[in-house]
């Protein structure tokens, strides 16, 4: 979706066990939910 939005140089960091030990951990595990840090740039050229 970032590409669809026109972003370039997209980077995705390592997964973080955001919900580990929290009340929602079991559901997070069930659907493999993790936190990620993303970076992306607006192209220098274009609109």
């Amino acid at each position: 979706m970032l590409e669809q939005g026109g972003f370039v140089e997209i980077q995705i960091g390592s997964p973080v066990d955001t919900f580990g030990g929290a009340g929602g951990e079991s559901k997070a595990r069930l659907f493999e939910v993790y936190g990620y840090a993303f970076a992306a740039h607006k192209p220098i050229s274009g609109s």
């Binding site: 979706m1 030990g21 069930l30 659907f31 493999e32 936190g35 740039h41 050229s45």
Partner: protein, 179 residues
């Protein structure tokens, strides 16, 4: 979270969460407790790189102001951070914390991230933490981020992603996303 940060939630909050996500503890130590206790991020957008001195940043869904204050420290007095949140309770919390910290290089604006109260091409960097996943029309959000970024500007955000497809019932169960 704004009115009851110590309530029972299905996610971690506050200082232990900040530590778990790898935030700089010296920066966190300078924040008032009111900003820390309402923190409910899902990752660390600054792990993709610190903001640079003098940059102009926008924080989407700034909540109690936690990431905004980290950003404000990084851009310094020559930089500026605009924080956008849709709830008056969170804005009051963050404004109060900002006043306590004595920082003057940021501004809090009420609004939704699908229609940002920020001028075209104003920002060097846009940050967000655990907010974009809550928006039904994510492409509209990314288009809006693109609008407020200058050419060559960057987006650094943390958010959750699933490794498996969610069932329709879970997608439509609003309490799962808004607790």
């Amino acid at each position: 979270m704004a009115v009851d940060p110590h309530g029972s939630y299905h996610f971690h909050t506050g200082r232990p969460l900040a530590r778990h996500l790898g935030y700089d503890e010296t920066v966190v130590a300078r924040m008032p407790e009111s900003a820390i206790e309402a923190f409910a991020g899902v990752g660390n957008p600054f792990s993709q790189g610190a903001l640079r001195p003098g940059e102009r940043g926008v924080d989407l869904g700034s909540g109690g102001g936690f990431d905004c204050f980290v950003a404000a420290e990084q851009v310094g007095t020559e930089g500026q951070v605009v924080s956008v949140d849709m709830t008056e309770e969170m804005l009051q919390r963050s404004r109060s914390a900002a006043s306590a910290m004595g920082l003057g290089n940021f501004e809090f604006r009420r609004g939704v991230i699908e229609d940002l109260p920020v001028e075209d091409g104003w920002a060097d960097v846009v940050i967000s933490n655990g907010v974009i996943n809550l928006c039904a029309d994510k492409l509209r959000v990314f288009n809006e981020i693109m609008r407020v970024l200058r050419r060559g500007g960057r987006l650094q955000f943390a958010d959750i992603a699933t490794g498996k497809a969610l069932p329709e019932a879970a997608i439509c169960y609003i309490d799962l996303w808004t607790d």
